[in-house]
């Protein structure tokens, strides 16, 4: 060991992620719950990722922080938005990617990427929580199941129960009404995933969609969401084998590497 060490830290609303890169290879990753102090969460995630690498260096040579907690990251050499970082991370894994759909804890974004991995346009949801991890958490609590089970449950549906509202509060009420009416849980869940997919499709019209499409963020681990997006876009969606929740941190580490080298 080894070349220079570069770190990316993504302090999201629900989880904080870190990736350590050296010579273009991932040496270590970490993922922890974001606490009430984003600065401490970022430091902890970085420390954990560094421990996994077992490298001799105590600190990375260059660190980039991203995510909503980036504004409290004194350990970082630079901060870059999660929009740029998700684009860079996705492009690093799949250079053919031209559109990134990122669904995180409190926001969702559609990012257009050029053949160099640079952002050419993007759109984010505004105040509404629809299409975010938080929305799915609320729905999971209504069904009294784990968040991780939502996607697989929806895949067992025989039909789709239409959900007319993607407002988190109204959707929760609607789901409760549908359950009371005797609709099957899996059919309702499929309807929920489709309603979110429709919303993302609507958002994406503002920036356009071009193949290949990569799905990142914590929600990308939800197989039901991937399926609903593919049906809505009528296109295949790539969910990388590399943990999609860590792609922002990976992109941040790539930016760190590029900044240091330039």
């Amino acid at each position: 060991m080894q070349g220079k060490i570069f770190a990316g830290v993504d302090i999201g609303s629900l989880t904080t992620k870190s990736v350590i890169l050296s010579d273009g290879a991932v040496l270590g990753t970490s993922k922890i719950q974001t606490g009430i102090y984003p600065e401490k969460s970022g430091e902890e995630a970085l420390k954990k990722a560094m421990e996994i690498t077992r490298c001799q260096a105590e600190f990375p040579d260059y660190t980039v922080a991203t995510g909503y907690g980036r504004i409290s990251s004194p350990y970082a050499d630079e901060t870059v938005t999660e929009i740029t970082c998700h684009a860079k991370g996705a492009f690093f894994l799949h250079p053919e990617v031209r559109t990134v759909i990122d669904m995180g804890g409190q926001d969702c974004k559609v990012i257009r990427v050029d053949k160099s991995g640079n952002v050419t346009d993007f759109i984010m949801n505004d105040k509404c929580a629809a299409g975010t991890g938080r929305f799915l958490e609320v729905i999971a609590s209504v069904f009294k199941v784990d968040l991780d089970s939502l996607g697989s449950m929806s895949m067992q549906a025989k039909e789709t129960v239409p959900i007319s509202s993607t407002c988190t509060v109204f959707a929760e009420s609607e789901v409760i009404s549908l359950l009371a009416r005797g609709e099957k849980s899996e059919n309702i869940l499929r309807g929920i995933h489709h309603a979110i997919a429709q919303r993302i499709t609507g958002m994406s019209i503002r920036v356009g969609i071009e193949d290949a499409i990569l799905f990142s963020g914590g929600v990308a681990n939800n197989v039901g969401m991937k399926n609903a997006l593919e049906e809505s876009f009528q296109k295949p969606i790539i969910v990388p084998s590399f943990d999609p929740q860590i792609i922002g941190a990976l992109g941040a580490a790539r930016v760190a590497e590029n900044r240091y080298n330039s």
Binding site: T84, D107, N118, T120, D121, F122, M124
Partner: protein
């Protein structure tokens, strides 16, 4: 750095309410107005005091206003309604008469409801939907004459043509100086920011017009007296702001842009530069005023009155070129549908010209502060990455 004239403007503004009280004791009538076509020249020539009203950036006023006007009016209009309801604004308190035009139907609605809230006399100026046809011109001239007659009735004497000529000259001078002030922003290392220019323009809503013209003169002279300043502004991203108004009190977006090292080099806002832009007064008469107002390039928060003759996009592209801006931030206030609905088409037009556009859709609460910061920061990163690629290529 604070320019000494900015301090003088600030002091003049502090004295202004008392000054208005004194003028009112001497029989002057204060006309508060909201709109885009209200002829200040005529109000001033009749010996009245025109005061442009409007407030933004205050969520409490929005909530207050929404009790009296539908919540699907834009945040600015609800905020103005809240201002009428609260009635603590020193200029509104001193207003004797209110005037509104109906170019934006939400402004018209504000006028209708404010009549009941404020118990003040309210006047309306009708605006044609098709601005450029002959029948529209005839209609608007009739409206302008009718508006003048109503003002004359309140004032108790008729409009004097010499006074009108002098008033037009004064307002045209203010417009010319305002444009000079905005033009100073194009130069790099200028000792004044857009935020300061915007505040100066807003102070012009309230100050005595002759005093304001003198202060503008002094300010421009002071700016011109500075040689190039050492600064790090050269790396900042140069931005034009367009879209919905950024009314007095609303600094959310401007502050974010400045905090993340953006430089606003111009705007075409209803609340800013647009009011002074492209005002060609061919004759010192009511007809001349009516034509000049109709021929102006209208601001982006008004509807598309005439699709074929709408020159706003071309004008925006020209402004970007003239100011060497690297992108446009299109600010849309929630339920300012006329601005919001144009975003996609405008973005496409600008894209074809190689000009990136970011829409910021917001209102006056601070709940989206960090989300806006992320969008603007990402927009700047995108612009810088594109420029770096251009340099490398």
């Amino acid at each position: 750095m604070t320019l000494s004239t900015l301090q003088k403007i600030h002091e003049a503004l502090e004295r202004r309410p008392e000054q208005i009280d004194e003028e009112k004791r001497n029989g002057k009538i204060v006309v508060g107005w909201v709109g885009y076509f209200i002829p200040e020249e005529i109000i001033y020539a009749l010996g009245m005091i025109p005061i442009r009203l409007g407030k933004g950036g205050n969520e409490h006023l929005v909530e207050l206003g929404a009790r009296y006007i539908s919540s699907q009016n834009c945040a600015f209009i609800r905020s103005c309604m809240g201002m009428f309801v609260e009635n603590t604004d020193p200029y509104l308190q001193r207003t004797d008469l209110l005037a509104f035009d109906n170019a934006c139907m939400q402004v018209f609605r504000l006028g209708e409801v404010s009549e009941y809230i404020s118990k003040k006399k309210v006047m309306f100026l009708g605006i044609p939907r098709k601005l450029f046809s002959q029948s529209s011109r005839t209609y608007f001239l009739e409206e302008m004459n009718h508006f003048t007659r109503k003002l004359e009735e309140v004032q108790g004497h008729t409009l004097d043509s010499d006074k009108l000529t002098k008033s037009i000259e004064l307002f045209q001078e203010i417009r010319r100086l305002t444009l000079d002030l905005y033009n100073s922003l194009i130069t790099r290392d200028v000792p004044i920011s857009w935020n300061e220019v915007n505040a100066v323009v807003h102070s012009g809503y309230y100050l005595d017009k002759k005093t304001y013209a003198i202060l503008l003169h002094e300010l421009i002279e002071e700016i011109n007296s500075f040689s190039s300043l050492p600064s790090n502004c050269k790396k900042n991203v140069r931005i034009i702001i367009s879209g919905s108004p950024i009314a007095p009190g609303d600094t959310k977006l401007n502050d974010i842009i400045t905090q993340i090292h953006g430089t606003i080099v111009g705007d075409n806002l209803w609340s800013g530069r647009n009011m002074s832009f492209n005002m060609q007064m061919k004759s010192p008469s009511i007809a001349g005023i009516a034509d000049a107002y109709l021929n102006r390039i209208i601001h982006h928060s008004l509807p598309c009155f005439d699709n074929e003759l709408d020159n706003r996009v071309d004008n925006l592209i020209q402004t970007v070129r003239e100011t060497q801006a690297q992108g446009v931030i299109y600010h849309t206030i929630r339920y300012c549908d006329s601005a919001t609905l144009k975003t996609t088409g405008l973005k496409e037009c600008l894209k074809n010209e190689g000009i990136p556009l970011l829409e910021i859709h917001t209102e006056y609460s601070n709940s989206d502060l960090e989300a806006i910061r992320t969008r603007v920061e990402a927009f700047f990163e995108m612009i810088m990455a594109t420029e770096e690629m251009g340099v490398l290529a």
